[in-house]
């Protein structure tokens, strides 16, 4: 699919969609490329939205990944504020919300995900989720409002989004409570000792934690406050309630078009869907692994790598996505970086003292290194990304031996 009479439609102008569009162009696709986004902006970076965007005065253009004019120069037509309502894989067309019909020869679905909400709270000015630039701008305004009025804020969900917003809100001097339903913070991604370390960190910075607390409902109060009611009968009033309790992949368009979905658009390791000439990338996908298991990754890296794979698959240059997954989070200026997936690990080993000056937790499964969580230890993280899954990975004994220089393994991996 490289001829100049072809048209590839990319639905979703986030990190994955942008990457797909640019990869098509840089790999010899000469036809038309259209990038449709439902937000009113050119593609922008989401990671700063829970951090600097909330605490500093940032020029909004600094979030931009690519200006519309830069895309134009590459022959990529960006349509902002455009919602695709339906796709037809047989007619190879898509219906836009303005009623027009777009024909395509190849389709990239990069529709992202939508934050989960708790019922009954959609209409209150005090209750928010954080996904888009608009969400973040409203939250930033609420935080300022709460600071002026001396109102506390409540964050439901002790995952990355919740913890990062908590850290930002503390930086602004607000009274912050984090509510986590599970028995510890970041339960899905961190080992229990590191969860504890993060709990201690947040407490030491003045954030209150309610762990194992079940929210029963959120009740709007007046125009701009809300009460969080707990299952045990307690309740707390706040000027801002942020729910950061995970996302739902936007797979509705695909499902209605008969494309296989299972809590996300099912793709193989080259980002092909169940329908020829339709690929998918980023948060909207769930990837089927060679052993049949399915995995959902929500990260910038996944969006970028899958965007690239998806574009190449449409061009018949399949490039399986095999990189070690990685993630990061910034809280109170402390950098957490995760390489690999620690799920299923049976042994972990810490390198360095558990302090802000830097340490890492190495996770092993049946003596093989599968993941490394690094706190203020950039070098460990970069090494881990190189060696996980290769013959250069350290053994348990090497990691345990404080005198063994792990960085000698870099040359082995090169």
């Amino acid at each position: 699919m490289t001829g100049s009479d072809q048209h590839i439609l990319v639905i979703g102008a986030g990190q994955a969609g942008l990457q797909a569009a640019e990869t098509l162009r840089s790999n010899g696709f000469e036809g038309r490329i259209s990038l449709y986004g439902d937000e009113p902006y050119a593609p922008y970076h989401r990671p700063p939205l829970s951090k600097a965007w909330l605490t500093e005065k940032i020029d909004e253009r600094q979030l931009t990944i690519r200006d519309i004019s830069a895309l134009e120069r590459k022959g990529i037509l960006l349509r902002t504020g455009s919602v695709i309502e339906a796709i037809d894989p047989h007619a190879r067309s898509a219906r836009v919300s303005d009623g027009s019909l777009v024909h395509w020869s190849g389709l990239v679905l990069a529709t992202g995900a939508t934050p989960r909400r708790l019922p009954g709270s959609e209409s209150s000015k005090a209750v928010h989720v954080l996904r888009s630039r608009r969400d973040a701008t409203e939250i930033a305004e609420r935080l300022q409002h709460c600071a002026r009025e001396g109102r506390p804020i409540i964050i439901i969900g002790g995952g990355f989004i919740g913890l990062e917003v908590a850290a930002s809100a503390r930086k602004l001097g607000l009274d912050v409570t984090i509510v986590e339903a599970a028995s510890r913070l970041l339960e899905r991604v961190l080992s229990s000792d590191l969860s504890q370390w993060y709990a201690d960190l947040h407490r030491s910075r003045g954030t209150k934690l309610l762990i194992g607390a079940q929210v029963s409902n959120i009740e709007p109060v007046g125009p701009d406050q809300a009460i969080v009611h707990f299952a045990d009968g307690r309740s707390v009033q706040a000027g801002l309630v942020l729910t950061g309790i995970g996302v739902i992949p936007n797979d509705g368009l695909a499902r209605k078009a008969g494309i296989e979905c299972d809590n996300g658009i099912v793709v193989d390791d080259c980002c092909r869907t169940s329908v020829p000439n339709i690929v998918a990338a980023g948060d909207c996908t769930v990837r089927r692994l060679p052993d049949g298991a399915k995995i959902r990754l929500e990260s910038v890296q996944n969006a970028v790598e899958q965007g690239r794979s998806a574009a190449l698959a449409l061009l018949g240059k399949e490039k399986p996505f095999t990189e070690t997954p990685w993630f990061w989070s910034d809280q109170y200026g402390i950098k957490l970086q995760i390489a690999g997936l620690s799920h299923g690990a049976d042994t972990w080993v810490r390198r360095g003292e558990s302090s802000e000056s830097g340490f890492s937790i190495f996770h092993f499964k049946q003596d093989r290194l599968i993941a490394v969580d690094s706190v203020n230890a950039v070098k460990d993280h970069m090494l881990a990304r190189r060696v996980i899954g290769t013959s250069a990975a350290p053994t348990i004994e090497q990691v345990q031996d404080a005198r063994f220089d792990l960085f000698t393994l870099r040359s082995k991996s090169a």
Partner: protein
């Protein structure tokens, strides 16, 4: 505005007026300068916005942080004494006319 010249991997030169306070990565990627990936969007965690600074003017820049130095050890293209991560260099008047060369690969 600070005029900065970027030399793309192909050798093409692009001059961009960078707003003071913006970092060199933000201005480059927003304007579609080729060769900078900036996967992490400027959080200093990924080493994919590697550039070479005009050696004669390197000393005019604030020195790299420890994190940046550690990431520079892992850049894909050759690391040189004038290697920097462009997301960690903020534009100010003193950088007027700076030439920044982008290596041929980032990942």
């Amino acid at each position: 505005m600070v005029a900065i010249t970027y030399v793309e991997p192909s050798g093409s030169k692009v001059e961009i007026n960078v707003k003071e306070g913006w970092n060199l990565m933000q201005a480059a990627v927003a304007n579609g300068v080729e060769g900078i990936v900036a996967e992490c969007g400027g959080s200093c965690v990924c080493a994919t916005c590697h550039v070479y600074i005009d050696p004669e003017r390197l000393a005019e820049l604030p020195p790299p942080s420890e994190d940046e130095l550690e990431l520079l050890e892992d850049v894909k293209a050759e690391r040189k004494p004038n290697s920097r991560l462009s997301c960690q260099v903020k534009a100010n008047e003193s950088l007027l006319g700076l030439i920044v060369t982008i290596p041929e690969c980032q990942t």
